[in-house]
Structure formats: C-alpha cells, structure tokens
Amino acid sequence: MKLKEIAAVLNATTSCGADKLEEEVEMGYSSDLMSDVLTLDTDNLILITGLVNLQAIRTAEMADIRAIVFVRNKRATEQMIELALENGMCILESPYSLFKSSGLLFQAGLKPIY
C-alpha cells in the first residue's frame, strides 16, 4: 500500500514526511512495546502504535522502519518530529484506536509480519 492510501484509510494527518506519501509499504506491525518491534527481522513495514515518545522514533530508526502511525489521536512532539525528519521518516496521526486502525489496514490489504 502507498502511505497516502494508509493515511486515507485511517483518516490520518501527516505530521512529517509528506514527500514520502507515494512510497509503498508491504506490511504492518501494531505494538506499544518497542522491545517487540526490535525483534523483527523485516523492515519494509509501517509501525502502528499508541506509544508516543522519542524512543518510538529511535526504535524505528534502529529497525530501519521508515513510517509510523500514531493512533488514539496522539500527537508527536516537536522533538520527535525533528528526529523523524533527520531520519527521513513519515509520521501519520490517526484518531482511531490501535484495534480499529489495524483492522482497517488489514482489510485494505496491508500484510501482517506473522
């Protein structure tokens, strides 16, 4: 799926990386636990999370994840956006819950990792 399609499905706003919206991601992973995200061997994925802090961006950086959706209407802080921009990431923000976001993306064809 293209990131812009993901944003449309989740009624999400783009808080940084609008130039990346044409890029494709194949898989999605939903988690508020960064320890689990760090165990993934896959990297062409979008992280869907309600954990809104600097370590979510750091985790994505180390795991080579280039796109994150923050759910439950949470907003990324300026410091987070700065770090995301530095790493060429796209950040989306959705008003939907983690469950609803994951369900809608699965239905739209985004693949699970396992």
Binding site: S35, L38, T39, D43, L51, N53, Q55, R58, T59, M62
Partner: protein, 136 residues
C-alpha cells in the same frame, strides 16, 4: 576507528544517541544494511538497559577492517543471575521503564540474537560490562 560516548541512568531522551551515531558511521563505511541493523539494535538494547537500570555508563566502539567491537560498561546494581536475565521475558524493569515501551525481558536475548559474539560480566552493586562483536 574509535568512538566513545557516555550514558546517564534514567535519561530516556538521549538513549539511542550512540546507536544513531554508530549507524551513521557504518553507513559511511558502506557496511551491508542487514549487518548495520544487527549491530545498532544490539547496541540500542544495551543502551536502554543502562538507562533503565544503571546510574551511568559508557559506550566504547572500535571499528576495524572486518569487525566492530562494542563495550558497554555501567556503574549500577549489576545482574545477580546472568543466566536468568538471559531468559526471554525475565525482567526487573520499573513501571516507568515499561511505560517507555521497554522492560519486557527481551533486551538481553535480543542482544544475543543480533551480536555475533556477546560477553556479559557483572558484579552486584558495582556494575555490568558487556562486550559485543560483529563481523562484516
């Protein structure tokens, strides 16, 4: 090439800075992406452990032609039973650390998975020394 960083216990804002810098250097050296990911994930997990558990620590990195050696040393409570700590799911992390998205007892097993060689030495109430080696 040698790099040295310091880490403050409890400082989650700067956790990941050394890993980020090491990642940049390895990219410049044109190291394979998968190898870089293994190295920085192992280092990041080690950094988070220092921030989560210890009072302060250092990260020393030595990059040679065919390998990278990383030492993460801290002054802190130490690990009483390293074998137990290596078990997936075993954790002594605080509620604060868990609220940051860590402390699930996955850090040490994940370091073992990502480093080609991992050596941990620890002394209770003094600190922990971790050495990790990855080959290019």
């Amino acid at each position: 090439m040698k790099l040295l960083f310091s880490i403050q216990g409890g400082d989650f804002t700067h956790a990941g800075h050394p890993s980020s810098e090491v990642k940049k250097v390895l990219k410049q050296l044109d190291i394979d992406g998968k190898t870089i990911k293994n190295i920085v994930i192992a280092l990041y997990e080690a950094e988070v452990n220092v921030v989560a558990h210890a009072w302060k620590g250092t990260v020393s990195v030595e990059i040679d032609e065919n390998k990278i050696t990383i030492w993460v040393e801290d002054e802190g409570p130490g690990i009483a039973d390293i074998d137990l700590a290596m078990q997936a799911g075993y954790s002594t992390a605080s509620t604060k650390v868990r609220a940051m998205g860590f402390g699930a007892g996955m850090g040490l097993p994940n370091m073992k998975k990502n480093a080609d060689e991992l050596l941990i030495e620890s002394e209770v109430d003094k600190g922990t020394k971790v050495k990790m080696v990855n080959y290019f």
